[in-house]
């Protein structure tokens, strides 16, 4: 596999990716400043912040931040670092700060917008001291269809514009939802591998026996979208044949799976249009939304890089605002069955991305292929990879001269 063998693919870093993007610590470091500090980053669903003083803390790239609701119901963000001597104002992932955050070290207080409102015994600082120098730098917050994002970059385009072609699709699947809760897990691999996995509709029938066996004998439909800028979408109809799955299960374990007695296979206690397309939307650079089986499963995932080869995935499960208690209970019990590192589907995706990171060490195999779908335009078939190329196209632009 030499460079000469691959001319038809174009070594342009969108169709064929140099695997060092997943392993080079310097690229990782650059991603933190060129990408994570300049894009819009999802922090919370607005339903997670109910009253004044409610806050959520997060790490954006490597920067600790706080998102807080103020007295007027407005959301504000600022760094989670005391301007006095650096202590984070909170170590909790969420909570309520009351009227203000009081730093536990020297008692400086900061209001719900990060403004310095109290410095004990200020006289010792002398005459030139003005408290507002010690306001915590604020961070831009914008909301899109109930999803709250921040950007560390004062110059970033507005969120609405940033969402670009993905906007309408995102709005459609999250409007009217609220948060059910979160789970997190870690895997030993680069953050982009998980994001790619979401933009990848070529793998499911191979990675997931429960998908592949359900597709047996079926002509698989669906589309893959490049959405400007950096976003993507997978859209495909529900087609699996349960009887094929049951047969495959029998082969696998020798157990007769009687799905009609298995509550996991029953209709949920709420209306769902089973004919609706599944939709998986990737938002640049590190956010993924899944809207499956007419919204039976509706989740958001965000990637929190820890190191070039370590990532935490944070998953937010969504329910429908105002749904019945029975519906809500069903969602709480069933939403994650396929998800997270314990999930019947994601379990295998975790294995795949960990295996990729292991294989990236083989420097004699230096490129990854993402060239499926050779047609012009931005839409291909289900198994095409326009979505991934959209990501790397934006990645390359953000990284600028730092890209490989």
């Amino acid at each position: 596999m030499t460079e000469e063998q691959l001319p038809h693919l174009g070594l342009d870093m969108t169709r064929v990716i140099d695997r060092r993007v997943y392993t080079d610590p310097l690229i990782y470091k650059t991603e933190m400043t060129q990408i994570f500090a300049r894009t819009w980053q999802f922090v919370a669903h607005e339903s997670e912040l109910q009253g004044p003083g409610d806050y959520i803390s997060a790490t954006i790239g490597e920067q600790p931040i706080i998102l807080c609701k103020n007295r007027d119901g407005a959301l504000n963000a600022f760094y989670n670092a005391c301007t006095h001597r650096g202590a984070v104002l909170t170590t909790k992932r969420k909570g309520n700060c009351g009227a203000a955050f009081r730093c536990m070290y020297h008692g400086w207080t900061f209001d719900q917008e990060g403004r310095c409102i109290g410095v004990p015994y200020p006289d010792a600082y002398g005459q030139g001291f003005t408290r507002d120098v010690y306001d915590i730098p604020s961070i831009r917050v914008e909301t899109f269809a109930g999803l709250v994002f921040v950007s560390l970059d004062g110059e970033a385009a507005p969120l609405e514009e940033y969402m670009g072609e993905a906007g309408p699709y995102v709005r459609e699947v999250v409007e009217g939802t609220e948060s059910l809760g979160r789970v997190r897990w870690a895997y030993d691999g680069n953050w982009k591998s998980w994001h790619e996995n979401f933009a990848d509709n070529y793998h499911p029938e191979f990675t997931h026996p429960v998908v592949g066996t359900g597709y047996r004998g079926i002509e698989v439909q669906g589309n893959n979208y490049w959405l400007d800028e950096g976003h993507g979408m997978l859209r495909f109809p529900p087609q699996r044949d349960p009887q094929r799955i049951v047969a495959a299960m029998r082969e696998t374990s020798g157990l007769e799976n009687n799905i009609s007695d298995n509550p996991l296979w029953q209709r949920p206690p709420f209306d769902v249009d089973f004919k609706q397309d599944h939709r998986i939307i990737t938002v640049f650079p590190n956010m993924d939304l899944q809207f499956m089986t007419g919204g039976m499963m509706n989740i958001i995932q965000v990637l929190r890089p820890q190191a070039v080869n370590r990532t935490v995935v944070e998953l937010l499960a969504l329910g429908t605002k105002g749904e019945s208690g029975t519906a809500r209970e069903w969602r709480l019990e069933r939403t994650l069955d396929s998800q997270a590192s314990s999930g019947k589907v994601s379990g295998d995706d975790n294995e795949a991305v960990v295996r990729c990171q292991m294989g990236f060490a083989a420097s004699a195999v230096p490129w990854s292929n993402m060239s499926r779908g050779q047609g012009s335009g931005n839409v291909g078939e289900k198994r095409d990879e326009y979505s991934m190329r959209s990501f790397y196209n934006a990645w390359r632009r953000y990284m600028g001269e730092h890209a490989l």
Binding site: R184, N258, L264, L332, E333, S342, K344
Partner: protein
């Protein structure tokens, strides 16, 4: 060891240890037989158990349990590392002759593909047990997992 509660407690502990051993030796089909037909097996993080009730999974009834066993036997492609489920702090509360609840602590170690054995997860079991035809079985086992960030390979039975 013939009669009364004491006997029951010993038998219930034996059931719990048997469960750990079958799981650690990957004898999944036998694990299935430790549950009643309407048995339930679920897992949830400590935080979500305190707050919102969002489960990692909840298998209700034999058919759901069979599905999980099928996944463990190859419907997942995830590698099955050697695990060790250590049980401690077992408290059993008899409800009546053939019924009891129990709580206990679990700590799981797991040996990875690299051969290194590491702490994996820990937490608390809440069990509901019944005796059917002279045999104690799980009617409900709920694993409340301390880990706020789950490990990567977490499809093993907890």
């Amino acid at each position: 060891m013939q009669g009364g509660n004491d006997n029951c407690e010993g038998q219930i502990r034996a059931l719990m240890f048997e469960c750990a051993r079958l799981v650690d030796h990957q004898r999944f089909r036998e694990w299935l037989d430790l549950f009643t037909d309407d048995g339930s097996y679920s897992a949830i993080t400590y935080e979500n158990n305190q707050e919102n009730g969002l489960y990692l999974f909840k298998d209700d009834g034999k058919e759901s349990l069979k599905e999980r066993v099928t996944f463990l036997m190859g419907f997942w492609q995830v590698g099955r590392g050697k695990t060790l489920h250590t049980l401690s702090n077992i408290s059993i509360t008899p409800l009546q002759d053939d019924e009891a609840t129990a709580s206990s602590y679990f700590v799981i170690y797991r040996t990875g593909d690299d051969g290194v054995t590491r702490f994996h997860a820990c937490g608390e079991y809440e069990d509901h047990l019944v005796r059917q035809e002279c045999r104690w079985l799980f009617k409900r086992r709920k694993a409340i997992v301390d880990n706020g960030v789950l490990p990567s390979h977490f499809t093993d039975l907890i």
